[in-house]
């Protein structure tokens, strides 16, 4: 049985206004990959979080910049990469404070990457200093 790879790319201006478009893109691709509804919701949220981080932190709401979302799936899994050319940060260096501790410290940052790690099966980060940052996320396609 051959497995055909399908590839999709969305490139949008770096504005939170485009998060709805990004979610639509991801759920459309996820539906083609035959994810169940609950997994589609998880994908949608993970990619929203990744892109919101880029828009707000890597690009500091600079609408002249662009966020690129690449998706590729085969029979086994869906790989999504969120690519930016902004200020990179390594999510593995985000402190794993409890939500109670974050509340106590009056902080609400860091929740997005925590969600991404819980929602996706694999998460990795690639930084080419001064050039680009890529957040790679993989979700396995559950078979009945």
């Amino acid at each position: 049985m051959s497995s055909i790879e399908r590839k999709f790319t969305l490139q949008v201006p770096s504005s939170t206004e485009n998060l709805a478009l990004i979610r639509e893109f991801v759920t459309t691709v996820g539906r083609q990959a035959q994810f169940e509804e609950s997994d589609l919701s998880n994908l949608e949220l993970a990619v929203d979080e990744a892109c919101a981080n880029v828009i707000e932190h890597a690009y500091g709401h600079d609408i002249t910049k662009e966020v690129v979302v690449r998706a590729m799936f085969d029979d086994e899994s869906l790989h999504i990469s969120v690519i930016d050319e902004g200020l990179g940060f390594d999510p593995n260096k985000t402190p794993e404070d409890s939500v109670e501790q974050l509340i106590h410290d009056r902080k609400s940052g860091g929740l997005g990457i925590r969600l991404i790690k819980k929602l996706m099966d694999e998460v990795s980060y690639e930084i080419v200093p001064g050039q680009k940052n890529e957040l790679h996320m993989t979700k396995k396609i559950r078979k009945d």
Binding site: A20, S38, S41, D48, E49, V99, I103, H104, L115
Partner: protein, 120 residues
């Protein structure tokens, strides 16, 4: 294509009066500031007993969850609380991934949430 968002607020007159904030549609990094403004308005007038009605909420990302987190300690320090009601299973799942059920009281409907304030 756009994911709709709406917010209905009924801000209390003071510390003995409840505020109700009803969220509708999609709360993400784009729309969360409107939610934050609504809670801030209630807190500013001293109405720290707040019910957030999520019956019509379809989606929330960490930007929205962060609003709950950033106000809860101040509100409780002032003798109030933020109670969440009417979560759909999908949205409840997002809250629960981060363990919000251990921090916030989540009620089935607005009437029950309001009653929790009046009884306690």
């Amino acid at each position: 294509m756009a994911n709709p968002f709406a917010i209905q607020t009924s801000i209390g007159d003071g510390e003995n009066d409840l505020s109700i904030v009803a969220l509708e549609g999609f709360v993400d990094a784009h729309t969360a500031p409107q939610f934050e403004d609504a809670i801030q308005k209630a807190v500013d007038v001293g109405s720290v007993r707040i019910v957030v009605n999520c019956e019509k909420l379809n989606y929330i990302s960490s930007a929205g969850l962060g609003v709950f987190m950033s106000f809860i300690e101040e509100v409780r320090d002032r003798g109030g609380d933020i109670k969440i009601c009417g979560l759909t299973p999908k949205v409840r799942h997002t809250f629960e991934i981060l363990g919000f059920q251990d921090i916030f009281e989540m009620l089935d409907d607005q009437q029950t949430a309001v009653k929790r304030f009046t009884v306690s």
